[in-house]
Subunit: 692 residues, 2 copies
């Protein structure tokens, strides 16, 4: 990666003096950012450009060039790359487009590029991407204009597929007074992908915060594992959520589609903050530039009664607690108030206090006295002191913010051009709206809290499996039947409601007697996957006579409805009274691998779409968080005087499902539906396993 | 209102040459906006200021001044107002603070102000507000700086309580190239309130869009009725949603608190768009400056693959349909692509098209050919044409947007300062992010669609009440018992499960026989409001013997648990099998009056907080929308092969509850819980009415 981010020499391949030639953009950017390494130009026309000799082909280059930036038309790229290989170049940024994002011929061309690169051991970005930026060393190879007047150096690094987004991100970060440090426009990610670059950025001293803009994930599981170990906030804008965008992705970039809910779950587990738009990216980056928010106690100063009310709403919405103002500080505040009209509450309303510098002194006193977990200062520039004074107050707030170890969110309101200038130049983050500030502080709080908590929970197994484990040494055979599925989940520690297999009515009656009535009768058949649909389940069978009737009726129904199917046997199962029905399941995602699911059982899971997902293996923390995330699991706590259900047993079942799918790569899907959670313990009533 | 918004003369009361004097700000604003009426100054020091004579008191003013702007300290305001009265001044903007927003003495002072004003027939804004602005006539009386360099005239008018928000709104609207027309900072709204001003703005020719910033509602019902008749979009930022902010409001401004969910419901009924922050206010105002969005068909052009994907996500999230590109247009697009790399889908990816003017031509062709309901153009300024060309493309898009009758959302990305300048000066709205554009277009679509639909539905009654109506002529007596409550809802057309009153076991048995088993037994007592808690309900009574046992057991339980209470009788009720339990209720809100509620019955209403509210009287449209809004009502449609339930009967029950509470002002609360919705009809099993 060193040769990519810190090349000692760069060859721009595909340059010409023609107006609009893209290679000129690369040269402009490199020179503008003061790149001090050697720049070589390659263009068919030869000659000279901007004081540099233009080589006619890569073959004319001296040996040992660190990085080739390739902008020639797509069909020529394999040959150009081959020439690079011959000249000992081992890193490239392929900026040309016309590959897999283009449906006619593109994919073949891309395969040829990969083949040539493999042959020479060349690692590359793109194609169809703008390559790398490292402003610490003046490296800036995009062909699009990214000159330093508006691409400032800062401590945020950006990984994106689309090149336009790298530009946009650098403009936004520069406008926010923050700037970028490193950036990669990865394009089609045929070779190097987000996980490769993330690994570099996690260790990079110049990077404090990482932005990921992704349309598809190349290697979700590796990304998750890298991010999990990160001590830096990673903010991810992941597009391609819905069906419409997935269709474009097929034509736009070689990006694998993953279930969007799995992406969200994985991000949460990895500590990646998923955002929805650029404004959120910018706001969160500001919050992460402040000291960590470690609790809920909030102190708000506001110059306008209106923003005080909005601040109180936003504080409540984001789980902050407005701490009480002690009388001593209250007295101090009233003393400063010219018109003596303010009752000192929190938010402290500075409405009638016209000495702006007193605000900052009072704020500091409030923060020092009350030690809140975060503070907010919202103010409007007033008439008497608009110019110099506004700047002075902002600088005083900045200095205060830098001096204290408590995050201070500054929210000034003024003419938009004044705010723009202030934001760009103050050297301290400012927020545009009170809601922006509080939502960002809340994310910072959650991120820091979760990081601390999460580190205490290694991936864990269900509590009861040790002595009963079936283990990976016995792979599960194809299409296990109901009894086999129940036995498998039992082996992993999920208890089941007592059951027996019956091959004839006599065996069924014997089982009914042993288990005790009422019982259920269920068909066992490798051919029948939806038992209910074909009448293969009978519930609440009260006695022997009813069991015999149910047996006969079911045999008859099955012969009628699924005449060809092979019925192996029937399951007689003890009915369970009471408890709450949940669904526990697991399956494999295309990019993240095994995923565990929890949902409210019965019809309500559909009505309220009330499920929670996590990538396996789970920690106990994950399992508990999943239970908290399913709204219907409030029922488990025992509403309206009902006894609470055994939430620990449910967590165990989730860990068991996690362990089962992780240890058995042959399992595609497993469902325990329903799992009845009782006052003590939880019992599977049904299980289904799909292999292959 | 004319004398307030178009005064021929204005007296500024409380002016002095001292630096920081607030009156000077008023004078500055008036002169800067070119107010041509006469300005009188009143200040205790007398003398002259800025070329105008300063009168020592209001009594020195000539008669017939239209408007007094009062900035003297709060305790002096009653006397100043009295003097205004004596001089024939009948309109005032009281900008002084220190009244009801200040807990010590403030409310008394405010009462005196009201008393003086009433005596003279003076109507006023404030106190504790910045008064009125009417840029059409140069009227701008806030003391805070609002000079015309950054307070441009436009077609948006703003009503707010807080003065800071008026400033902020005008800066934001000016930055967005839109500007304000009229504005009122209403302060404590002791006399004139938002409904008074809304009435003016609805008829105002200079106003196209109205912003409301409210902390509390002075007269919710009147606001609702005015807004309902509005042909102009009203965007409301209503703060004071949570408990924390309600506490401040008590000290900050004399604002009545209403249940926030009722506020949202009322806004929806009135066609008021409720927004969460300033960004949303600005974005929606831009969308409403475009032609109406009347359907879901969307055409998107994007210069970056990344934003194309984001656009597709946002389109799907907001219910837009990306229409197919016909081959002829596709061919045209490909012809313009330099590198021939794009497969023409919608969003149309212009990634390899470097002729910016061709974008606009193709976009026009696309719009003309496909006639979408809305179009989006997202592009990034590229290197070859950053300066003049960028401007030219933006102007071409503006001209196209003005020429066509289809809303065109332009979303350019560039250096933030370039975008700022463009936005301020283009004379056509531009959006900052693709998500902003699509969410705003979706709101415009919903607003226009709902307006059309809504106008077809007058307030209506339940279908079956005409012949059974109890009517308002018989007020419901205090604390009606269960049987009286059931009879009342029946009279309004809500059927009940058959029931009979039994005074002794013999009557109960007779009733059981007549109704048919199984039955339920419920205590009738004016003292017992929660029957379940004291064991006053027995269900599923299978036969006569069981009924006798239940009767005895209940008597015993009640004597034990609520020994002092008077049990009038018992209700024997037919048990109803099947159906879906819902809750239908109504109650009175502090500012909106009668409100109807619908929720999923049983325990799930608590778990999922799944309720819908509307202000009564309802239209059938309201009732149907309420049912759609309750997620659990999907169960009524008949999931998983169950028969659908009678949704019309549920709508009738909602209309009945609406009619009942509207016709009986003595009713505080009515609950039908549960209402069982069957395949045909719906039956109330229980009803509770609270009067007083």
């Amino acid at each position: 990666m060193d040769r990519l981010f810190s090349p000692r020499s760069i060859a721009i391949v595909g340059i010409s003096p023609r107006p609009g030639n893209l290679g000129q953009g690369v040269l402009l950017n490199l020179r503008d950012h003061g790149y001090t390494g050697h720049i070589y130009l390659v263009g068919r026309g030869g000659d000279e450009l901007a004081g540099l000799c233009v080589h006619r082909s890569v073959d004319e280059l001296p040996g040992g060039v660190d990085l080739a930036v390739i902008l020639t038309p797509a069909p020529t790229v394999p040959d150009v790359l081959d020439a690079c290989g011959r000249r000992g170049i081992r890193r490239a940024c392929i900026e040309s487009s016309g590959f897999s994002e283009f449906s006619i011929g593109g994919p073949d061309l891309e395969a040829r590029v990969v083949e040539v690169a493999r042959r020479w051991g060349i690692r590359f970005t793109g194609p169809n991407g703008l390559g790398v930026i490292n402003l610490e060393e003046g490296v800036c190879v995009p062909f699009a204009p990214m000159t330093k007047d508006w691409v400032h150096r800062g401590r945020v690094s950006v990984l994106a597929q689309s090149g336009g987004l790298i530009q946009h991100a650098s403009w936004l970060l520069t406008a926010a007074g923050m700037g970028i440090n490193k950036a990669v426009s990865m394009g089609n990610k045929v070779d190097l992908n987000e996980a490769d670059f993330l690994e570099v950025l996690l260790d990079d001293e110049g990077t404090d915060v990482i932005w990921l803009y992704l349309e598809g994930l190349s290697d979700g599981r590796r990304l998750l594992e890298l991010a999990r170990s990160s001590s830096k906030p990673i903010l991810m804008l992941k597009a391609g959520r819905g069906r419409a965008s997935q269709q474009i992705l097929r034509s736009h970039a070689a990006a694998l589609a993953s279930d969007d809910r799995v992406v969200s779950a994985a991000a949460r587990q990895a500590g990646i903050v998923r955002v929805n738009d650029f404004r959120e990216l910018v706001n969160l980056t500001k919050a992460f530039a402040l000291p960590p928010v470690r609790g809920n106690d909030l102190l708000v100063f506001s110059r306008s009664g209106g923003t005080a009310v909005m601040a109180a709403d936003a504080a409540e919405a984001h789980g902050f607690h407005l701490i009480d103002i002690p009388p001593s500080l209250g007295e101090e505040i009233r003393r400063h108030n010219r018109a003596d009209v303010i009752v000192p509450t929190n938010p402290v309303d500075l409405g009638a206090m016209f000495d702006a510098e007193a605000w900052v002194r009072l704020l500091e006193e409030g923060i020092t006295t009350l030690r809140p977990d975060a503070a907010v200062m919202s103010y409007i520039y007033s008439f008497a002191w608009e110019g110099e004074m506004a700047r002075r107050v902002a600088e005083a707030l900045r200095d205060l913010g830098r001096r204290i170890e408590i995050p201070l969110a500054v929210v000034p309101a003024a003419r938009v051009d004044d705010i723009d200038r202030l934001e760009r130049s103050l050297g301290f983050p400012i927020f545009r709206e009170i809601g922006d500030a509080l939502s960002a502080l809340a994310v910072s709080r959650e991120w820091h809290t979760r990081r601390t908590l999460y580190s205490q929970f290694p991936a864990s197994h269900a509590r009861h499996t040790q002595h009963a484990i079936r283990g990976p040494q016995h792979p599960i055979h194809e299409s296990p039947t109901l009894d086999e599925a129940l036995r498998t989940v039992e082996a992993y520690g999920i208890s089941t409601a007592d059951w027996a297999v019956a091959r004839d009515a006599g065996e069924a009656v014997a089982a009914g007697k042993r288990l005790g009535y009422p019982v259920a009768l269920k068909v066992i058949s490798a051919d029948i996957s939806h038992k209910t649909d074909v009448g293969g389940i009978a519930l609440d069978i009260a006695d022997e006579a009813a069991l015999r009737r149910a047996w006969a009726a079911m045999r008859h129904r099955l012969q009628e409805r699924v005449p060809g199917s092979a019925v192996q046997a029937f399951l007689v199962q003890k009915m369970i009274a009471g408890g709450r029905e949940m669904i526990v399941g697991a399956r494999r995602d295309a990019t993240f691998g095994p995923v565990v699911m929890l949902g409210l059982g019965g019809i309500y899971v559909e009505v309220f779409d009330d499920v929670s997902l996590r990538v396996a293996p789970l920690t106990r923390f994950d399992a508990e968080e999943m239970i908290g995330q399913v709204r219907g699991s409030r029922l488990l706590r025992g509403l309206r005087g009902q006894a609470p259900a055994d939430v620990d047993a449910l967590a165990d079942a989730l860990l068991a499902a996690s362990q089962l799918i992780v240890e058995h790569p042959e399992i595609q899907e497993v469902d325990v539906n329903p799992l009845v959670v009782l006052g003590k313990g939880a019992l599977a009533l049904d299980a289904r396993i799909v292999t292959g």
